[in-house]
């Protein structure tokens, strides 16, 4: 957890870059700082790893004031990604990736294993390890920049417009990747941008900054639903606000009763449930209906001999909270190829399931309107127009 308490930064020349800012970033959250140029985003971010020291106020990480810590050690615990990648041209990709582990004196095998594993996570093969950064494309370089910030298992990653210099397609792919890595590894990310689309796409929470102050700090949905003032509204733009009013949440389209089994159920019983209900995937819950994982037919079939209960073979499942905008879920389903995404409430209880079929319904609705309207466009109309 990162807490800003009345933090200000006044530069030597008298510029008040950050003005009495207070907000809290929870563990595992993806927080985007956004604002116009010169609004103090970079300054705010760089105060977290003490690249800049605050003039007044306190910044606490997990309750400890960072001023009481050794700045060098603090920085080694915090990943750092910048727009210019900052890859060392005199070091190979491997040496670049393991820079912080090397400073921390990890042993060779562990470093090698880490580098190979992370490289694979960003869809690059081991053949890249011995290359020099100048031999990579811009997108590949920034991939290395990103995994370099993860290599020492840093819990917090700071990113300052990391994708600003990339073309839209590469940027899109890297945004997906970073969000995915962050969700999967549960890291806390503080991300600076001035691209609102990027912010809406990535953020769990957005801090909108202007003239050194945080104007609004909330989830993207809440900010869209209730912009704090005119500045925020104009920053969001008419288009996005209008889109929002027609946006649906997952609750409106989800299937209300996904087929579930409890984690202590045997594989044989599960197969029977699958057959009776004619599905190939079962969601696993505990006694209180809290989502635990998922099992599919293939998994059960493969482990028939080895496992007894579903809890032994269930795999993790990506889920969303109820109230999430459908558009972001649709985005994930299409881009990452999920067949369906379960919806849970605040307590983690399984509430429903968004399936690809629900998406088709939405597309159908947006093209042809509500069911009544479909009926109210009789064929005669077409004939009428033709006869004109």
């Amino acid at each position: 957890m990162i807490e800003f308490k009345n933090v200000s930064k006044i530069y030597g020349d008298g510029t008040k870059a950050v003005d009495d800012v207070s907000f809290t970033i929870n563990e595992g959250e993806f927080v985007v700082l956004i604002g116009t140029s010169g609004s103090g985003k970079t300054t705010t971010m760089r105060m977290i790893n003490r690249m800049i020291d605050s003039t007044s106020g306190e910044i606490l990480i997990d309750g400890k004031n960072i001023k009481d810590e050794n700045a060098v050690e603090l920085r080694r615990r915090i990943g750092y990604v910048i727009q210019q990648t900052g890859l060392m041209p005199h070091m190979t990709v491997y040496e670049n990736i393991v820079m912080v582990p090397k400073l921390l004196k990890w042993d060779k095998d562990k470093m090698r294993e880490t580098a190979e594993r992370l490289l694979k996570r960003v869809d690059m093969g081991n053949e890249f390890l011995d290359r020099y950064p100048q031999e990579l494309s811009g997108g590949q370089q920034q991939r290395i920049g990103v995994i370099r910030a993860l290599a020492a298992n840093q819990d917090i990653i700071l990113m300052d417009e990391p994708f600003g210099a990339l073309d839209p397609i590469t940027r899109d792919a890297l945004q997906e990747l970073v969000k995915h890595l962050q969700e999967e590894m549960g890291r806390t990310v503080v991300f600076v941008t001035h691209d609102m689309d990027e912010a809406l796409k990535l953020a769990d929470k957005i801090a909108i900054m202007s003239e050194g102050k945080v104007i609004q700090y909330d989830t993207p949905d809440n900010i869209l639903a209730a912009p704090a003032n005119e500045f925020v509204e104009s920053f969001l733009g008419e288009d996005r606000l209008q889109q929002r009013s027609t946006m649906q949440t997952v609750d409106q389209v989800m299937v209300k009763t996904p087929i579930t089994v409890t984690s202590d159920m045997t594989l044989a019983e599960s197969i029977r449930v699958m057959r009776d209900r004619r599905v190939d995937t079962l969601f696993v819950t505990d006694m209180h209906h809290v989502l635990q994982g998922v099992v599919d037919f293939e998994g059960i079939n493969k482990n028939r001999k080895k496992a007894e209960t579903v809890s032994e073979i269930m795999s993790h499942v990506y889920y969303v909270k109820s109230g999430t905008l459908l558009s972001s879920v649709a985005d994930k389903m299409l881009k990452r190829g999920y067949k369906n995404i379960p919806v849970v409430n605040e307590a983690g209880k399984l509430e429903g399931l968004v399936t690809r079929a629900s998406l088709v319904d939405i597309v159908y609705d947006t093209i042809w309107g509500d069911d009544e309207e479909v009926e109210s466009i009789p064929l005669e109309t077409t004939q009428y127009q033709e006869s004109e």
Partner: protein, 229 residues
């Protein structure tokens, strides 16, 4: 040393033959002066590097000092070498040490200047990343600034060494020996053309070779030329 019996024969040879003869007769002496010359130059440059490289790093980080330091080194550079030798001789007496000190002083400027430029030119983003990832000041220096600047520093050493070889050649005037010694003998001898060549050619070769070797090293150390081997 020329022996008297040879003198007669010698007058009948052309300059090239005389040169061959001289080298054959005085090979050991020539070699001795050659290494002496080389070592004087190297020592002067090396001591200068030990002083000038840290100064270059320091002024790269304290830009206000840079103009001042480079200015001072520039002044040293403009003093003619013979004048410098003579002045220093008053302080340090005749002999090798005074020549080494002269070489040292002349080498300061190219090395300081190049170190300063090399370090100053390291991309700010690299230094930002290095610091942001948790390198100490010292680690930033030897893991990033030094390797990034090394080829430019080498170019400074190369300049310094070439100049040093020339300066050492006049060191003979204060009795330091070296290839200048041989040249001076030639100048003093009647019909000493061959002897002058016996001193001058190795001096020139030494300068050219030093230049080539260091140029090669410089290129090899250039981080921007790094690609997979």
């Amino acid at each position: 040393m020329l022996n008297i019996e040879g003198l007669d024969e010698l007058t009948q040879m052309n300059t090239f033959q005389q040169l061959i003869y001289y080298v054959q007769e005085n090979g050991a002496y020539l070699w001795e002066q050659f290494t002496r010359h080389f070592l004087i130059s190297i020592y002067g440059v090396l001591f200068a590097a030990i002083v000038a490289i840290p100064i270059g790093f320091y002024i790269a980080r304290h830009s206000k000092l840079a103009d001042w330091v480079v200015g001072a080194a520039n002044v040293i550079q403009t003093i003619p070498s013979l004048a410098m030798l003579s002045i220093l001789m008053l302080g340090f007496g005749i002999g090798v040490n005074t020549v080494i000190i002269t070489v040292f002083l002349y080498s300061l400027l190219p090395i300081v200047k190049n170190t300063y430029a090399g370090v100053k030119n390291v991309d700010n983003a690299l230094m930002d990343a290095a610091k942001g990832m948790g390198m100490t000041r010292w680690q930033q220096t030897y893991k990033v600034e030094l390797p990034m600047a090394i080829s430019v520093i080498m170019a400074g050493l190369r300049n310094a060494l070439v100049v040093a070889i020339g300066v050492t050649a006049i060191g003979t005037f204060i009795g330091a020996g070296g290839l200048g010694d041989i040249i001076q003998r030639g100048v003093n001898a009647s019909q000493g053309g061959a002897i002058i060549l016996a001193g001058a050619i190795p001096t020139a070769l030494m300068a050219v070779a030093a230049d080539l070797v260091l140029a090669w090293l410089e290129k090899k150390l250039d981080p921007s030329s790094r690609v997979r081997k």
